[in-house]
């Protein structure tokens, strides 16, 4: 038996378990899932609403992570895709009377198309230039939504009010609780699909492009196709998050989707660890809760306090939550010994 065979038969090497993977171990995943399922049973409605938003922004951060961590393309324009998803859901619900759950796949598909189309001109740009082009998209979006031409549908500056859905099948739970579990189920599905995608042939093509475009092309990877696909997938997931966000907040208005949102999502991705999918929820928690904490510390200087906390986080753990997870894993291993 050769050395290689020996190694491979010793550890089930062939299964896709790279050492620095993009996911959590099964144990940690189950603990996390259990906490997300059981947690809300003991919480007040307002906190449940915040946890729903945690999942929704988590999805949006995950989407950016697929784009940047996966295919190596920057985007400061995710708020535009989020806005399109939110408005798609809101318009379908309020103008066409479509069931809220059915609006989400539509929002996802429309945003996939939008992202895929935007990816075409973006092909000529990379790195900081691509970041700028997407930034332009984010800056333009709120004003496009205010245009008089679309006002009949979008409600113009006023925006649209969305009806909050009741729990189905006569379930006795609050609307907030139902919406939380509904969001959790969708988030879980999208998370698993994303992990699958990045571990598959398509995901490897994304990462090959991220690491070396010329070599990827020599291996037969259609660089242009996979770059635009990454944009499409990222925009599609962001669109679903946007739709869920519209349903949860019960309101869409142009100024909810400014470039500040895009930058927040970017911050969330970096805090969670670029390319580490479970970090998305940590990043989401950071962008939702840390501003509140900062406000608690000082009302007048909340922005400055947030800045200091952000600076500290980047300074102490430059690779974000992923780094914390790796250190924790090593500690657990030491303790087991």
């Amino acid at each position: 038996m050769s050395a290689a065979e020996e190694v491979i038969t010793k550890a089930p090497a062939v299964e896709a378990v790279p050492k620095r993977g993009m996911t959590l171990g099964l144990g940690a995943s189950l603990v996390m899932l259990a906490a997300l399922i059981i947690g809300p049973l003991f919480l007040k409605n307002f906190i449940i609403f915040q946890m729903t938003m945690l999942l929704i922004y988590g999805l949006a951060v995950l989407a950016l992570n697929i784009l940047t961590g996966g295919s190596g393309q920057f985007s400061l324009g995710q708020s535009a895709f989020y806005a399109v998803g939110a408005y798609t859901s809101a318009i379908l619900m309020e103008h066409a009377g479509v069931n809220y759950a059915l609006t989400l796949p539509v929002a996802g598909l429309i945003c996939f198309g939008f992202g895929f189309a935007f990816g075409q001109p973006a092909l000529r740009l990379s790195g900081i230039y691509l970041a700028l082009a997407t930034f332009a998209l984010a800056v333009a979006m709120p004003q496009l939504l205010k245009l008089g031409f679309f006002e009949h549908w979008t409600g113009g500056v006023q925006g649209l009010v969305v009806t909050k859905p009741d729990p189905p099948f006569g379930l006795t739970m609050s609307q907030d609780m139902w919406l939380y579990y509904f969001t959790l189920a969708i988030s879980l599905g999208i998370y698993i699909a994303s992990v699958n995608l990045l571990r598959s042939r398509s995901g490897r093509a994304f990462m090959a492009i991220r690491d070396n475009e010329i070599a990827a092309s020599a291996m037969g990877v259609d660089v242009a196709l996979y770059k635009t696909l990454a944009f499409g997938v990222s925009a599609g997931v962001t669109g679903v998050a946007g739709g869920l966000g519209a349903i949860a907040v019960q309101f869409v208005a142009p100024d909810s989707y400014t470039v500040t949102l895009a930058i927040s999502l970017f911050v969330g991705m970096v805090i969670g660890g670029v390319g580490w999918l479970p970090g998305s929820i940590v990043g989401s928690a950071f962008i939702i809760f840390v501003p509140n904490i900062a406000e608690h510390i000082s009302k007048g200087l909340s922005g400055a306090v947030f800045g200091v906390l952000l600076f500290l986080a980047i300074f102490l753990v430059p690779h974000g939550a992923r780094q914390v997870a790796i250190v924790a894993e090593q500690l657990v291993r030491k303790l087991k010994k």
């Binding site: 090959a208 070599a215 291996m219």
Partner: protein
Amino acid sequence: MAQAQLAQGNAPLLAVRDVSVVFGGIIALNGVSFDMHKGAILGLIGPNGAGKTTLFNCLSRLYQPSSGDILMEGASILTRPPHRIAEIGIGRTFQNVALFPNLSVLDNVRVGTHSRTSSDIISDSLQLGWVRRGEAEINRKVVDILDYLNLGSVAHTVVSGLPFGTQKRVELARALAADPKILLLDEPAGGLNHEEVHVLGDLIRRVRDERHVTVLLVEHHMGLVMSIADHVVALNFGRKLAEGTPAQVQADPDVIKAYLGSKDQ
């Protein structure tokens, strides 16, 4: 008659026909022609700036020749985009190693199978049955190649941390994963010491014999080319200077002049 028979029974796998490349006003390649026959190791030599890399980049479709043609099994490759070269059986390695630094050895070699497999993002996301079966097939093949090149012990290591010589072998493994008919090797001996070059020479010959590939070796290292090539093409200033067996090319006065300079210069 005899010539016609020869042409039929021994048609070249790859034919470079009168290829010229002009950048601005500079002629980087000037009417270069040669044939590559199945199972051969062809050495392409020449001093710096002779046009070796330019020719190499034409073969991998990074450059478009200004005139001439390149035929793979009789069909022109010049209408194909660079990402559709792997599928007709042309594989390559890079001069200073171009791996995917953040991926493991396994994943690097898995990417090598891209041109031989198919999938779409929906089936991949849902891990449909045919995707899983395809992935199992890929893994079998990749493990076989890693084993063949003695890379099994580093299968899960991220490549950026590996020694240079090992990275070169990973690159070879990645190229082999695409089942190439022709392997283009761009200065594989670069950065290796004397001992490693010797091992590399044996490896290239072994791969040719056991994996049935034809090899184009672009190389500065004369010792390596002369010891393993069956046929050598020498370039200088974008023109073909000499062609023949290693011994013939080595004895060619023009080649000697190009490498060592002549007395009256």
